[in-house]
């Protein structure tokens, strides 16, 4: 560790680190554009200038290694003057686009201009005219006039996505960012360039002109779209998800997320089922929650009493660990069957973040014993059971089983009893005797376990109102099927304590410890 003095205070920083990250870690606010903790050093913006005693000129802190005994002035008048100068030069050609720029409100140029700028333009010459609304890729749009040439996007495409679609063309004050001729910004992580762009030059098409950022509430959560479990922030406004943003977690996703996961949130806003229905055929008859639960319990209970092998349960890997645990108890104690398996959708994977399992909690289902182990009846065997008529009733959570079984209506038509807990409208619901509306990841509290066994917290970003959570549905069904369940609502934190007590791999997990960046489970 090296000891350095910053503005009169002595702080300890790791040897060999650069000055800027060391200062930022200690809460010293140094303005910067081109520096990014996960990208190589560029030193192109000159915004991070500080004064180091013994150096003849101001120096950029992002590319100055710390030395023991260094004396740094991070905010004196000389430094402030230099920052003002850098800003003035950046603003010489910057368009007055703030009212129509999606970045406004979270723009580094606005923030620093507000803090260090002169508030007045001393130039009268017309500003540089460049291309606006350049369609550089299917998910990202570029505005060359707003670019401050920090080259973060260029480095991202070279170092992280390793696709190198972007580059700086021309020189000096003619420099512009663009894609190579004939190429487009198509990589699977392309919207990350819009995240790291400190200004509004690169923007996500999905979020383009959609909502001002100051109306957005953010909640820390986990991406539900694959087993990697990238840490995200859910941005909500007007009772809808407006966007998902990645959140830094060095153990999982650094500061990135894939485009697929980022854009897959529409199911929370649209096509939801909100009221329970009873009876097959379209349109099914809507029912009160009590009636629907009674009917589901009556049908499932009748089969459970006659023959334990006439029933099977399909487990959704989108449920939280706590819901899965309660669901497991319901299947064993209420349905009195051991026939259950998780229906996990699969898709393309890469060697970075994107995992083949397109659901967040497949690992949780396996850890909690809700996926068929080898030798047990698995999803294919359950399907065969339905087709031969030995399995006459199904309790299904999620709708993925429809696709996994080849979207075949005849399988589900054979069933005597089909009870589905699902959040979205789906063809499968047309075959259900009882549909119980579920909640999505954005509306509940709980934990997911990612592919590597890290337990991470999801948080309620949208208020589902009166609608019960999936956990409440399982408890209510269990009570109606004669299980001994004390009254009271579903409490994820309490259920997690039960999981910790009964699943050895989870013994280090606590609700509070999981809260921030998650806790790894212990490999058996």
């Amino acid at each position: 560790m090296a000891k350095i003095t910053v503005d009169g205070t002595v702080i300890e920083v790791p040897d060999g680190s650069m000055l800027l990250p060391a200062l930022l870690d200690h809460g010293v606010q140094v303005p910067h554009y081109c520096f990014h903790p996960k990208l190589s050093i560029d030193g192109s913006c000159r915004m991070c200038l500080v004064k180091v005693e013994g150096m003849p000129k101001l120096t950029i802190s992002c590319n100055t290694p710390v030395r023991d005994g260094m004396v740094v002035d991070s905010r004196g008048p000389e430094v402030a003057k230099a920052r003002q100068g850098v800003l003035e030069l950046l603003l010489v050609n910057h368009p007055l686009d703030c009212p129509i720029c999606d970045q406004a409100g979270e723009c580094y140029l606005q923030d620093y201009a507000f803090e260090y700028g002169t508030r007045e333009a001393r130039t009268q010459e017309p500003r540089r005219k460049l291309l606006k609304r350049v369609d550089i890729g299917p998910r990202v749009v570029l505005d060359q006039e707003r670019c401050i040439l920090c080259r973060r996007c260029v480095r991202f495409c070279r170092e992280i996505s390793e696709t190198a679609e972007l580059a700086v063309f021309n020189m000096g004050d003619r420099s512009v960012i663009d894609t190579f001729p004939g190429e487009a910004l198509t990589n699977d992580y392309s919207i990350c360039t819009a995240d790291i762009c400190p200004v509004g030059a690169l923007l996500s098409k999905d979020f383009h002109h959609k909502m001002r950022v100051w109306f957005i509430d953010e909640m820390e959560s986990i991406c539900p779209s694959c087993a990697n479990g990238c840490n995200i922030k859910i941005g909500t406004a007007r009772r809808e998800i407006q966007r998902l943003l990645p959140r830094r977690n060095d153990a999982v996703n650094e500061t990135w997320m894939c485009d697929y996961g980022r854009l897959r949130y529409g199911f929370v806003n649209d096509d939801r089922v909100r009221v329970p229905t009873v009876g097959r055929g379209t349109p099914a008859i809507t029912a009160t929650w009590d009636d629907a639960l009674d009917e589901a319990a009556r049908r499932l209970g009748a089969l459970a009493r006659t023959d334990g092998r006439a029933l099977a349960a399909i487990v959704s890997p989108h449920l939280t660990n706590e819901e899965l645990f309660v669901y497991g108890q319901l299947v064993a104690g209420g349905l009195r069957t051991a026939q259950r398996d998780a229906a996990i959708p699969l898709g393309p994977a890469d060697d970075y973040l994107i995992k083949a399992e397109k659901a967040a909690n497949g690992r949780g289902a396996r850890d909690l014993g809700l996926a068929a182990r080898s030798g047990e009846l698995d999803l294919a065997a359950i399907r065969a059971g339905v087709e031969t008529g030995t399995i006459r009733g199904l309790l299904v959570t999620g709708t993925d089983v429809w696709e996994l079984w080849g979207e075949r209506a005849d399988i589900f038509e054979r069933l005597e009893t089909l009870v589905v807990v699902a959040a979205n409208a789906h063809p499968l619901l047309g075959f259900a005797d009882v549909v119980l509306p579920g909640l999505t990841f954005a509306e509940k509290n709980g934990t997911f376990t990612n592919h590597a066994g890290r337990v991470q917290r999801i948080r309620r970003a949208l208020d589902p109102g009166e609608q019960p959570s999936d956990g409440d549905i399982f408890l209510a069904l269990g009570r109606r099927l004669g299980m001994e369940i004390p009254p009271g609502p579903f409490e994820p934190a309490a259920v997690l304590r039960e999981i910790v007590a009964s699943v050895p791999a989870y013994r280090d997990v606590t609700w509070d410890a999981v809260g921030g960046l998650g806790v790894p489970t212990i490999e058996a």
């Binding site: 009212p99 129509i100 383009h208 002109h209 959609k210 001002r212 109306f215």
Partner: protein, 196 residues
């Protein structure tokens, strides 16, 4: 709590004349008659002596400082000047503005697809006008906005648009706040560049 003495003026003791009812009626009628004949003669000679105006046939000329209902400026091409930046929506203390932005093919790429003001909540504070970077929402002189229908107080964009020339006095008034003689106009700049 600190106490404070307030001296109030009580009505004086009644004089004898004040208690003679019928006489007071005559005195009052004399006042009425005096005003009536004064106004009548003045009216016949074509000079006005009263402050009362014949509303609604006659309207007062208000100063441009007067703040009526906020309206949207409609440019000569018929479109709104608003770019849906959302600042008025944010500034409004009673949250009565709702904007849904969208993209257009015009040079300025953003416009309000929906711009609603709930006039039953607006309190004519003018913060929206002050927040607007585009001079796109201004306080008009429109005040007769009562409605018999509950929904009628929700004003949509097409009803809020007012041609820019009608709003000229107000626009000139609000520009006074930031008129800067020391900053050259675009024309002056062009001229200067021409000379170089």
């Amino acid at each position: 709590m600190a106490s404070r003495v307030v001296t109030v003026e009580r009505p004086p003791r009644l004089r004898a004349v004040d208690t003679m009812g019928p006489l007071l009626i005559v005195r009052g009628l004399l006042v009425t008659a005096r005003h009536f004949f004064r106004n009548l003669f003045a009216f016949m000679r074509g000079r006005r002596t009263i402050a009362t105006i014949l509303y609604p046939e006659e309207k007062m000329a208000w100063s441009p400082a007067m703040r009526g209902m906020p309206v949207l400026v409609q440019m000569e091409n018929g479109k709104e000047r608003c770019v849906a930046c959302g600042l008025c929506e944010w500034a409004c203390p009673v949250d009565c503005i709702t904007i849904y932005p969208a993209e257009t093919a015009d040079e300025i790429e953003r416009y309000p697809e929906i711009f609603d003001i709930d006039m039953s909540r607006c309190m004519f504070c003018g913060f929206c006008e002050e927040a607007c970077p585009e001079e796109a929402i201004v306080m008009s002189q429109r005040v007769a906005i009562a409605t018999t229908e509950w929904r009628g107080s929700l004003w949509h964009k097409r009803d809020l648009l007012v041609p820019v020339h009608e709003l000229d006095p107000r626009l000139r008034y609000i520009r006074r706040g930031y008129d800067r003689p020391d900053v050259p106009t675009p024309a002056q700049t062009a001229e200067r560049l021409e000379k170089r």
